[in-house]
C-alpha cells in the first residue's frame, strides 16, 4: 500500500433547498473550490486527475439513475475512470475510502472523490419515507418506517442500560449548533440552551427536533494523491498546503434489522469487540460488572459496526490510545444520541460512560462559551464543524464534508476557509478521525488523518 495524502477539499454551502441549480452545478461548486484552493485551471486539473469516485445515496431523492456520470460529464472529467458508491448514510465515508484505495493500490496517482444529495425534491415527510426505505421492507418499514423512531428506540435502551439522560443528549445539540455558529457552510448556526433543545417539538421520544439532523442540499469534494501525485501537482504549479496523510482506514457492518443483532455475553464481547485500549485489568473488571448487571452486546444500544471500524482504523494507523492520540473527531451525529453512542464505540470512553463524557465537557471546544458548566472542555473536541446536526446531512456529501473540515483543521487553515473566522480552529491539531455511519449502524467507516 502506498502513502495517500489529502490535498484539498471543497464544499457547497449546505442549505434546505437549492432550486436554483440541478445537482451537477452544486458538485461543481465544491470542485471549483478545490481548483481555486490549488490555483489550477480546469484544463490543468483535467490533465492531473487520473480518475474519480462519486457518491450519492438515494436514487429516490435523485429520481435519476446514473446521476454520477452526469456529474462526471458536467465537471469535464469524461473519459476518465469513475464509479459510484452507495452505502446509506455512510456513502460519503465509503467514497472517501474507495478513493483512498484507488491511490493506495497504485491504480491512480490523483483521485477526486465527490458526492452530493438533493433532498429538497420532496417534502420532509416524504423524505422520511425515502430514508425509511433503507429499513427492512417486509418486517420493519410497514410497522411505522421512520429512522428517528429507530434511533429513539436505541437510545431508550441506552438510557435503560447506562442511565444516559435527555439533558446529556441536549448538551450535544448545544455544542454542535454552537460550533457551527462559526462555520459559514453550515445550515443551522444557532446559540441554544439545553432547555430550548428539550422544549422543541418532540419527534420520537426522547428525541426532539433539535436532537436530529436536517435534510439538506449540498455537495462536497476531496482530492487525494500519492507521493508521485503530489509531485505532479507541484510540477504543475499547484499551491499545496502542509501535507495531510490518510494514516489508516477501517470499516465495520451490522445487521439491517436491529432486532436481529446479537446479545453477546461478557466473554464474547471482550474477545471479539474490545479495543486494545480496553485491555487493562481495571476496564475488564468494569465491563464484567456491567455485563453482570444485565448488559449484552451490542444489542440495540450500541453500534458494533462503529466499534469494529474504529478498531481496524486504529490498528492500521498505529493508534492504541484514541483519547490521547487524537486531537479531534468529526463523527456522524445524525442524532445527538448516536454521537454519545459513538464516543463509546470509538473507545473515547467506555461503554456506559458516554453521557458522563459530555457532562465532563470532553467533546467541547475549549475557549468557547456554551453557556454550560464544563469541568474539562477541550479534552477531545468532537464535531468542531458542527457535525450533521448543524451543518446538515446531504447524505452523499456528508462523509466527504467531514474530510474537508478535518483537512482544514489539520492544515491549520480554518480561518482562511471560514471567511476569516478562526474561532473553532484547534491549535496544533496533528491527528483527527472522521466517522461515517449508515442507518442504525449498518455500515460504518472510520478514517484517520494526520498532519505530516
Amino acid at each position: 500500500m502506498r502513502n495517500v495524502y489529502v490535498v484539498s477539499g471543497g464544499v457547497s454551502k449546505f442549505t434546505k433547498a437549492r432550486p436554483d441549480v440541478t445537482f451537477q452545478p452544486m458538485v461543481k461548486e465544491a470542485y471549483d473550490y478545490i481548483l481555486n484552493d490549488l490555483g489550477l485551471t480546469q484544463p490543468q486539473a483535467f490533465e492531473l486527475i487520473d480518475g474519480t469516485v462519486c457518491s450519492y445515496f438515494s436514487d429516490h431523492f435523485a429520481r435519476q439513475l446514473m446521476a454520477g456520470i452526469m456529474v462526471q460529464d458536467y465537471l469535464g472529467l469524461c473519459p476518465k475512470p469513475s464509479f459510484r458508491v452507495e452505502s446509506g448514510g455512510a456513502t460519503g465515508g465509503v467514497c472517501f475510502q474507495e478513493a483512498y484505495k484507488q491511490v493506495a493500490s497504485g491504480y491512480l496517482d490523483v483521485c477526486l472523490a465527490y458526492g452530493f444529495e438533493k433532498m429538497s425534491h420532496v417534502e420532509t415527510w416524504k423524505g422520511n419515507e425515502f430514508i425509511a426505505l433503507a429499513s427492512d421492507q417486509d418486517f420493519d418499514y410497514p410497522v411505522g418506517g421512520f429512522y428517528s423512531g429507530y434511533y429513539a428506540m436505541m437510545v431508550v435502551r441506552h438510557m435503560h442500560e447506562f442511565g444516559t439522560t435527555p439533558e446529556q443528549l441536549a448538551k450535544v445539540s448545544v455544542k454542535n449548533h454552537r460550533n457551527a455558529f462559526y462555520n459559514p457552510y453550515a445550515q443551522k448556526r444557532l446559540k441554544l440552551t439545553v432547555q430550548e433543545v428539550r422544549d422543541s417539538p418532540m419527534v420520537a421520544y426522547p428525541l426532539t427536533r433539535l436532537d436530529i439532523c436536517v435534510m439538506s442540499d449540498g455537495a462536497a469534494a476531496v482530492l487525494l494523491a500519492s507521493e508521485a501525485g503530489l509531485e505532479k501537482l507541484r510540477q504543475a504549479g499547484a499551491q499545496l498546503a502542509p501535507a495531510v496523510q490518510v494514516a489508516g482506514i477501517g470499516r465495520g457492518t451490522d445487521a439491517m434489522r436491529m432486532a436481529d443483532r446479537p446479545h453477546q455475553d461478557f466473554d464474547q464481547f471482550f474477545a471479539r469487540n474490545a479495543l486494545p485500549s480496553e485491555q487493562t485489568a481495571e476496564t475488564k473488571a468494569y465491563y464484567r460488572e456491567l455485563f453482570e448487571r444485565g448488559t449484552h452486546y451490542p444489542g440495540v444500544h450500541s453500534f458494533r459496526a462503529g466499534r469494529m471500524a474504529s478498531r481496524e482504523a486504529y490498528r492500521n494507523a498505529g493508534l492504541s490510545e484514541p483519547l490521547k492520540e487524537l486531537d479531534f473527531v468529526e463523527l456522524h451525529d445524525a442524532y445527538t444520541s448516536s454521537e454519545i453512542q459513538t464516543y463509546e464505540d470509538m473507545g473515547l470512553c467506555r461503554y456506559g460512560e458516554g453521557g458522563q463524557f459530555v457532562d465532563e465537557g470532553y467533546p467541547f471546544l475549549s475557549g468557547l462559551d456554551y453557556g454550560l458548566e464544563l469541568a474539562h472542555p477541550g479534552k477531545l473536541p468532537v464535531n468542531p464543524s458542527g457535525g450533521l446536526i448543524a451543518c446538515g446531512h446531504p447524505v452523499g456529501a456528508t462523509g466527504l464534508m467531514q474530510a474537508v473540515f478535518a483537512l482544514w483543521q489539520l492544515q491549520g487553515t480554518i480561518k482562511k476557509h471560514y471567511g476569516g473566522d478562526g474561532t473553532v480552529q484547534i491549535t496544533q491539531a496533528k491527528r483527527g478521525a472522521i466517522h461515517s455511519h449508515a442507518g442504525t449502524g449498518t455500515y460504518v467507516t472510520v478514517s484517520i488523518l494526520e498532519r505530516k
Binding site: 410497522v143 436491529m258 436481529d260
Partner: protein
C-alpha cells in the same frame, strides 16, 4: 393564531411562462419548479418468509430456529446467520416483554395519520433476537422508561393485511 399558510403540493396547471426578449439576463432567471408524480405497483414476494405471514393470518406468531446450533430467531431468518444451516419454524410465545420502545409524534408520509404511535421491540426468554411491533394500550402522551421490561401479549387482526402489523402487542 396562524401567521403562515402551509405549503401544499396542489395548485394551478400552467402551460406557458413569459421569456424575456433579452437573452443576456437568462442566467439570473428564477428556477422553474414543477410537480412530478411517481407511483408503482410491485409484485412483491415474501419468499422463504411467507409462512410468517400465513401464521399471522391464523393468529400465530412464528419464528425460526436453527436445528444445528439452536439459535432462535424472534423475526424469522431462512438460514442461520451463526452457522449457515437452513432453519425450521416454531411458534413464538404470545407473551413477551418490551425490550425498548419509542413514541413517534412525527414520521413518514404513509404513517402520519397514525401519529402518535408507539414502536416497540419485543423480547422473549430463550429467543436470541427481537421483533419490531406496534404497542397499543399505553398513553402515547406519557412515555416512561418504566415501559422497558413491561410484560405484553400479542393481539391479531381478524382480517389479515399480510403485513407485520397483522400482529401488535398490548400490556398483559
Amino acid at each position: 393564531m396562524i401567521k403562515k399558510l402551509p405549503e401544499t403540493l396542489d395548485g394551478s396547471v400552467l402551460f406557458n411562462v413569459p421569456l424575456p426578449a433579452d437573452l443576456a439576463g437568462l442566467n439570473e432567471l428564477a428556477p422553474i419548479i414543477i410537480k412530478q408524480h411517481y407511483a408503482v405497483d410491485y409484485l412483491h414476494t415474501f419468499g422463504q418468509d411467507s409462512p410468517f405471514f400465513a401464521g399471522l393470518a391464523n393468529g400465530k406468531l412464528l419464528g425460526t430456529e436453527c436445528p444445528q446450533c439452536g439459535y432462535r430467531y424472534g423475526t424469522p431468518k431462512g438460514h442461520c446467520t451463526q452457522c449457515g444451516a437452513r432453519t425450521r419454524w416454531f411458534e413464538l410465545p404470545q407473551e413477551g416483554q418490551v425490550h425498548t420502545f419509542t413514541v413517534c409524534y412525527f414520521g413518514s408520509e404513509e404513517f402520519l395519520p397514525d401519529c402518535p404511535f408507539v414502536l416497540a421491540l419485543i423480547e422473549w426468554e430463550g429467543v436470541n433476537t427481537l421483533f419490531l411491533t406496534r404497542l397499543l394500550g399505553v398513553d402515547p402522551q406519557a412515555p416512561s422508561l418504566d415501559w422497558v421490561g413491561m410484560p405484553v401479549r400479542a393481539r391479531f387482526r381478524r382480517n389479515s393485511k399480510f403485513k407485520p402489523t397483522d400482529v401488535y402487542f398490548v400490556p398483559r
